[in-house]
Assembly symmetry: C2
C-alpha cells in the first residue's frame, strides 16, 4: 500500500456527510440563510428527529454550525466552499461527451 489511509478516511468522512439528498437540500438552503430545525424539516419532508440527526452529521463533519436562540436552534453553513461541489457534480451528470463503458466483449477501440 504505502498510502496514508488515515488521511483519506478523514476526507471520506467529510464527503460522506455531503453524500445524501436530504443533507444536500439542507446545505443549499443554509447557503441562503441560517434556519431552524423546524424550518428545515418542512423543507425536506422527513421527521424532525431525522432532520435533527442529519444536522448532527453535518455538524460533526464541520460543514455546519449552530447557535441557540431561545428554544430554537439556528443552523448555518460554516464552510460555504462545499457549494463548489455542485458545479462539478453537474458536470459529471452531464458527461455526455464520452462513454464510461470500456466496451467489454464488443468490437471497440483497443490499444
Amino acid at each position: 500500500m504505502s498510502v496514508d489511509m488515515a488521511r483519506f478516511e478523514k476526507r471520506a468522512e467529510v464527503i460522506k456527510a455531503m453524500a445524501n439528498a436530504a443533507r444536500l437540500v439542507i446545505v443549499e438552503e443554509l447557503s441562503r440563510n441560517e434556519k431552524t430545525v423546524g424550518a428545515l424539516t418542512e423543507l425536506v419532508g422527513l421527521d424532525i428527529s431525522t432532520v435533527s440527526r442529519h444536522l448532527m452529521i453535518l455538524r460533526h463533519a464541520g460543514i455546519v454550525s449552530c447557535r441557540k436562540n431561545g428554544t430554537r436552534v439556528l443552523y448555518r453553513l460554516r464552510t460555504p466552499c462545499v457549494l463548489n461541489f455542485f458545479d462539478c457534480v453537474e458536470k459529471v451528470l452531464n458527461g455526455d461527451d464520452e462513454s464510461t463503458d470500456c466496451c467489454l466483449s464488443d468490437s471497440c477501440e483497443k490499444t
Copy 2:
C-alpha cells in the same frame, strides 16, 4: 416540501461515489495517470474483486472511464474537476477557527 428531490438524489449519487477512502485513493492515483485494476489493487490493499467493484461504482457515477488493452483494463479519470473537492475538504477538516457546537445547556452566546 416543494424541492426537486430527484435532482438532489442524482447529485447525491455522484457524491456518494466519492464518499469512500479507497475510492478517493483511486481517484487521486488516476489523476496522475491511467492505471490497470491490478495496479490500483496493489495501491489500495483490498481484494482485486473489491477494487473492481469500486471502479464500477466510479464508472457508473461518470467519474472514471475505461478502455481495454489486451487482457488488462485501463481506468482513467474522466471528470478531473472532482479533484477540486479536496481543497474544500481540507478546509473543512482544518476548520479550527470556530466551534461547531451550539453549546446546548451551557452558558453561551444566545441571540
